[in-house]
Amino acid sequence: MNHGFRTLHPVVLLTYYLATTIAITINRHPFFLFFTVLVLILFNWVCDRGKTMKWWWRFFVLFGLLLFLLNPLLNHRGQHVLIYLFNQPITMEAVVQGAINALTFVALLLLFITFPRIIDSSKFLFLFSGVFPKWGLLAMLSVRFVPLFRIRLEEIIAVQRARGISLTTGTVRARLKNGFALVHSLLTWSLEDGIQTADSMAARGYGLKQRSRYNPYRLHPSDIFAIGTIAGLLALTIFGSWLGDGVLTMTPVIEPVYLTGREWTFFIIHTLLVGFPVIVEIKEEAQWFYWKQKN
């Protein structure tokens, strides 16, 4: 897709991921986090119609449940005892805490499964090499090699299978040995060919002087506006968390999960921040809709 959130400047995109990660980790409130998860599911759906999510959901449910249950089973602090299980009190506080833990974890994963769709490898390397040019080049080379080596390794596996080297039959030890022989073969072959790669770099003047960097992205006014918005929302969220509005108070008495008064303001700010990509997408959809109607 060539429209919407992902067409913003990579710096904007990275800022969003950083800001949202921070917001999720500091706002430890089940009400906040529950809606965060909902918004992120929406984001995933907008991103690729939920394809990646479908792949991951079992894992999310499993680990979410595990983390949710882990806390009340192991942590018995709190005043509101719900029931006794194996002579151990299961407290309200611990259940809520477990929910917060699970929601934080799932929210972070939901956020980052969208990452490769939004910041693909070339944008990521662009950002990375902006800060660390040499590391950027190393990573760029490696990223270029990985698909090549994967193809090479699969070829080696196939050809060696024809020679009777199997990874699927025999003892585990034999299979491990065979597997390593294939990786070793890939390594030797690739290092051998790598000299040509280095020569080709040198032949094109690498290392003669400070490199410049081709920048395929332009920073538009809308990008600057977006960075400003995200940064502003993040600042307000941090402020809210510092005031204690984004955090569910547990001690001395657990506060109600439902929000009151000023908390609503910070909840809206937090949700706007997390839902920023969804808002951009909706705005864009609306524009398309009206553009089509006019034409």
């Binding site: 990660t21 500091i26 983390l67 806390n71 192991l74 805490q97 917060i100 833990n101 699970a102 934080t104 974890f105 972070l108 994963l109 980052f112 990452f115 490769p116 910041i119 490898s121 990521f124 390397l125 990375f128 902006g130 800060v131 660390f132 040019p133 590391w135 080049l137 190393l138 990573a139 080379l141 490696s142 990223v143 090699f145 990985v146 080596f149 994967r150 990874l167 699927t168 299979r175 491990l176 040995k177 597997g179 390593f180 294939l182 990786v183 070793h184 390594l187 690739s190 290092l191 790598g194 790669t197 280095a198 770099m201 290392g207 410049s212 960097r213 081709y214 920048n215 992205y217 920073l219």
Partner: protein, 236 residues
């Protein structure tokens, strides 16, 4: 941004030092405020920075860059033939031997780069810096210890392989613990570490297996290329 310049060369040495200390202060503040994950992630970043800058400044030759990139890429794809056992792959082994043959800087680069590059294909996230740290440190240590009992003796290698398997797993658990748990409680931490134990053990045993069976051959191969590629770092 348009010019493509980078702020590293633009910022003076003192500027960098000041930024570093400001970052450090912030992470301490976050620690006091009990935002463990933000604080520790920041600390990891701060620990990385001097190393990253050191490597940015070092004069790696063109061939050196290509070689390190190849080692990391091979380590990243090396799990493919081992898909039949969970958590068994020779990536850690390749990183260890890279450190042994090419020294601590190269070991660190190969380790950190392997994590970074693998995650470009498997999924980038807040866990990336932690993995970079884990593998980077393993590569660094093997390079640092290359002339010691740990790497030279058979028993030492067994210990080193096992430890690095657990070290990698524990660093990843640490990320989970710090991210998810609001109150750090021993029981839950033990539970998380316990549940990853079989996987970490498999990782460690695989390291031992590869180290015992193949380190000689691998060292020989890498030494052959060390000679072929010539020097990796030019003197400043």
């Amino acid at each position: 941004m348009e010019s493509g310049g980078n702020f590293i060369s633009a910022t003076s040495h003192y500027g960098k030092v000041i930024i570093w200390w400001l970052g450090f202060a912030l992470s301490i503040f976050l620690l006091i405020e009990e935002h463990y994950i933000l604080s520790t992630t920041l600390l990891i970043g701060l620990a990385f920075l001097p190393l990253f800058f050191h490597i940015e400044r070092s004069q790696i030759t063109t061939r050196g860059i290509v070689m390190l990139a190849i080692l990391a890429a091979v380590a990243s794809v090396s799990r493919i033939p081992f898909a039949f056992i969970p958590n068994v792959q020779p990536a850690t082994f390749i990183i260890i031997i890279s450190g042994v043959v090419f020294g601590k800087e190269s070991g660190f680069i190969v380790g950190a780069l392997t994590a970074l590059v693998s995650n470009i294909f498997l999924g980038q996230g807040p866990w990336t810096p932690w993995q970079m740290l884990a593998w980077g440190v393993i590569g660094f240590c093997s390079g640092r210890l290359k002339n010691t009992w740990f790497i030279k003796k058979r028993f030492g290698r067994i210990v080193f392989g096992l430890l690095s398997g657990f070290f990698f797993g524990w660093i990843m658990n640490l990320w989970v613990v710090l991210t998810v748990l609001q109150e750090l409680q021993l029981a839950q931490i033990l539970f998380i570490y316990g549940s990853s134990f079989p996987f970490d053990l498999a990782h460690g045993l695989a390291n031992i297996f590869f180290l015992l069976l193949f380190s000689k051959r691998m060292v020989k191969t890498l030494n052959r290329f060390k000679k072929k590629y010539g020097i990796l770092y030019r003197e400043n």
